[in-house]
Symmetry: C2
DNA sequence: GTCTATACTTCGATAGAC
DNA sequence: GTCTATCGAAGTATAGAC
């Protein structure tokens, strides 16, 4: 007898993602998460123990999945420039399936990991470590110019995350007539960003000769 | 008789910046802001009316100042590439004086401007509008390649803000041995970022001919 | 303008029955 | 595993004296 696809803990995690993304750790309400997940609040505590433990479980979970997907890129036998494109696309794809990820990430940076334990921090660390590793591989192979891998990580990831988390505020800006705020689609953004990143990390012709 | 340099409302705003940056709107505590500002809580309500009004006042204030500083860049008679450097430096300088700005900005993006009124949104809008304007000027003068000005805005600003807001979490990552997390200074970051942005927005030789 | 005391509300968490 | 009812802590805000 197959279990229903979304069993309680999973539904709770999904509801928690929405609530924590929308309101932040402090603004999130356990009652609201339980209601969104259509479980009793006592049930939530039965499965996760506390608001904090639920938050940590959500973050470990989410970051483990992104990092795992990015890991595949490093092992594929493609030019480094293409790896960068794949990082952008993989991130964008992941977010299209986990719409609450960007806001949670922005909030966690602002929070400075205050609500996290060591194990969860380790899970978060896999994201920069993986992207930095991909960049470092390109540099070592002399396909990308020398750059601090974390600078490259931030240069690629920060705009994506901010763009995707920023959809609501971009609508507000469009209402205040900020030029271009109304007509910037995700597709245009991603394609221009990939172009920008290629130019930013490519070896110049003179560097290529050596 | 000159008033003391930091009169009550200013001290309250400074304390509010620290508190809202560290904990977010929902996590911020009015009592804590009052204590940090060394004013009575009733005094805070006397001056600002509510937690929300205080938050809005802080944001209007802060964003008006950044935008004003950036406005100067557009009117200076320098090459567009230099304008981009100046945007980076101006933002970095502003943050060195307003250390709580990056975290507040990340949180406000994640919040989607929910706690703001129209006037405050307008104040926030000045930041992307100004940077996009500087980029657009460079494109019009055929000194930068064609790019959506908001893509350029996000490409420049997102990494800076995330880097500067991310100092606490970067220390956590360093403790978990993420390569390079321990040795990335602000100076190195800014200089590499400027380099990245120049390459990203520069006209290619063939484009320059036309 | 400044302070003390407190009203009112919301929230995280649990006890205890089933 | 599931639910109802509720406790106790914290939080925003204000009344009212000075």
């Amino acid at each position: 007898m197959p279990r229903p696809a979304t069993v309680s803990p999973d539904r709770i995690l999904a509801a928690a993602a929405a609530e924590f993304a929308e309101r932040g750790y402090a603004g999130a309400r356990v009652d609201r998460i339980a209601r969104k997940a259509r479980v009793n609040k006592a049930m939530l505590y039965y499965h996760f123990g506390s608001k904090q433990a639920l938050y940590r479980a959500l973050l470990r979970n989410t970051f483990a999945v992104v990092a795992a997907r990015l890991q595949h890129i490093a092992s594929s036998d493609r030019p480094a420039a293409e790896h960068i494109d794949q990082v952008v696309d993989t991130l964008a794809m992941f977010v299209s399936e986990h719409r609450h990820f960007p806001a949670i990430m922005l909030r966690e940076i602002a929070d400075g990991a205050t609500h996290l334990d060591r194990e969860t921090v380790r899970a978060l660390a896999a994201l920069p470590a993986t992207v930095a590793g991909i960049v470092q591989q390109g540099i070592t192979r002399r396909e990308l110019r020398t750059i601090h891998p974390l600078v490259a990580y931030l240069t690629v990831l920060a705009p994506i995350v901010m763009f995707l988390a920023g959809t609501p505020i971009r609508k507000e800006l469009a209402a205040e007539h900020v030029a271009g705020a109304a007509n910037l689609t995700t597709a245009v953004f991603l394609s221009q960003l990939k172009d920008v990143m290629r130019r930013a990390f490519a070896l110049t012709p003179s560097e290529r000769i050596r």
